[in-house]
């Protein structure tokens, strides 16, 4: 792999940019691999990357039904934060946020991590108390957040209306080193680094079956033939239920569509991410100037990747009171992704009833921010059979009643 650098740009500028190579190879699958990861989204690619980087396991295939990063990795609102309430969540999300800080250097690929700050608005007295509690919990967890008053919110976000009639802004939970990153670049950067380590990224190859012998996975059936493996990692987000069905076990997961939308591009007006969880909306401004808006999840199971129309209206209507200026904006595009929701709104990074099969799913509405930490933990679990970061997120927790309840702290908006 040729490294990207200022010298590379200068060199290519002198030869009509004819020397850039493809970022990753597109090989045909081999007969067998040490590890097969199903799903070349952010989490799957990050798992493969840390398997190679941290554990030297490079005989790896990453199999993808569509194109890499074409699922939820390319459909989210790119928010990165780690201000969670429960200790296991704070640990893994903060690990991810911390890895994002230097991810561009690690991958030699600009993921445009922008720690511009994330504010979660408190718009009811209940939320004020909730976020003050989160701020205290974060202090104990070593996650730097602070609770700020409404005037400070107004100072940071001049376009906000803090005196709304229904939901005035009473304060906010600020994480200064939270922010955004370029979602496609995260997938592309990991893919390029994986390919460089000799891993095979096999796109447009759908897994159609999981071959099992005596409680072990021996390989997968795909649309490009049968492939053997010693270990299998299932990292397919919304389709986790479908893969689990192939592998013969059940999951405490339901899939539904979550939507986002962007406005026409406008001049810079908001340089932080603002989340308004009471009214179910969150907003940031992209580098192109579009206001990126995330909304609610469909209330019923579906795999439509578009979502119900009325959610757009509800989301925008909710945000207009807090951001009156967006009432004049035209919305350009809307899209949906399939999110895999668990009962306690926390992910599953776990062993499965099959001895050499591991699953990483249940990130629900908030997976993008966790990509590096999730990959780190999943790789450790697959390589060593144990990961301190992943331990609490095992699927057994539902049977044992030790939930990691983030349904309040994480809210609908991630």
């Amino acid at each position: 792999m040729k490294r990207y650098s200022v010298f590379a740009v200068a060199r290519e500028a002198q030869r009509y940019h004819s020397g850039w190579e493809r970022a990753w190879r597109s090989p045909e699958p081999k007969k067998s691999y040490d590890v097969i990861i199903v799903g070349a989204g952010g989490h799957g690619l990050a798992t493969a990357y840390y398997l190679g980087k941290n554990f030297g396991i490079t005989n790896v295939a990453i199999i993808e039904k569509g194109w890499l990063g074409g699922g939820n990795t390319g459909r989210n609102t790119t928010i990165i934060r780690s201000n969670y309430l429960q200790d296991p969540s704070a640990a893994i999300y903060e690990k991810a946020r911390d890895l994002y800080e230097t991810l561009s250097q690690d991958l030699n690929y600009n993921v445009m991590f922008s720690p511009r700050g994330v504010i979660m608005l408190a718009q009811t007295h209940h939320e004020v108390r909730g976020y003050q509690r989160t701020a205290h919990a974060n202090a104990l967890q070593g996650v730097k957040t602070e609770f700020i008053g409404p005037e400070k919110v107004k100072e940071i976000v001049p376009i906000i209306n803090i005196d709304g009639p229904r939901y005035p802004v009473l304060g906010g939970l600020l994480q200064k080193r939270g922010g955004t990153a370029r979602h496609d670049a995260v997938a592309w950067g990991y893919a390029r680094a994986c390919s460089d380590m000799g891993m095979d990224i096999i796109q447009k190859c759908e897994v159609t079956g999981v071959r099992r012998i005596a409680g072990r996975v021996v390989g997968v059936e795909t649309t490009k033939g049968s492939i053997d493996c010693n270990k299998l990692g299932i990292v397919v987000a919304g389709h986790s239920g479908v893969l689990a069905d192939m592998a013969g076990f059940r999951l405490p997961i339901e899939s539904a569509a979550l939507q986002a939308l962007v406005s026409e591009p406008i001049k810079p007006c908001m340089d932080v991410v603002v989340m308004a969880n009471t009214v179910h909306g969150y907003m940031s401004q992209s580098d192109k100037g579009e206001m990126v808006i995330g909304g609610g999840t469909d209330s019923f199971n579906n795999y439509t990747q578009r979502g119900s129309f009325h959610h757009i209206e509800e989301t925008v209507r909710a945000l207009v009171e807090t951001f009156p200026m967006i009432s004049r904006l035209k919305m350009l595009r809307q899209w949906g992704g399939i999110v895999d929701m668990t009962g306690d709104r926390s992910p599953i990074i776990s062993k499965t009833p099959l001895e050499n099969c591991f699953i990483n799913c249940g990130w629900g509405t908030g997976g993008f921010k966790a990509i590096p930490g999730s990959g780190w933990a999943m790789a450790e679990l697959m390589a060593k059979g144990y990961s301190p970061l992943a331990n609490e997120f095992s699927v057994d927790r539902f049977k044992e009643g030790r939930f990691i309840d983030e349904s309040v702290a994480a809210g609908v908006a991630h």
Binding site: G241, I253, S299, F300, N301, N302, S308
Partner: protein
């Protein structure tokens, strides 16, 4: 937008008039049951990519709970039926089997 016919009042209700109630025909387990049974009842879900049986409530209408058979990919509705049953009606299952070869949902094929 998803539209379901309420089997009680006959109204063709659209999504905002309804509230989703999750998977249908769950077998309930209470105190004294095994951990595995309780886990299955509380948390394990079918989550099919295809036809699903669900509970719905005509919340902004007659207020009654009912069942629906719906495809989670195309949103095609195969039918709705009343809440006073623990299994889907036989004629509805036949209709789904005819339309979707290979249909499978819990113990039904």
């Amino acid at each position: 937008m998803l539209t379901l016919q309420c089997p009680y009042c006959g109204v063709m209700a659209e999504e905002t008039e309804l509230s989703a109630g999750g998977e249908a025909h769950l077998k309930r387990f209470g105190p004294g049951s095994t951990d595995a049974d309780f886990e299955t009842y509380m948390f394990m879900r079918e989550n099919p990519k295809g036809v699903h049986f669900e509970r719905w409530r005509h919340a902004n209408g007659c207020g009654k709970w009912f069942h629906a058979a719906r495809c989670t990919v195309t949103l095609e509705v195969f039918g709705t039926y009343t809440a006073q049953t623990s299994v889907p009606p036989a004629d509805l299952l036949d209709k789904i089997r005819a339309a979707r070869p290979g249909f499978k949902w819990r113990e039904f094929e």
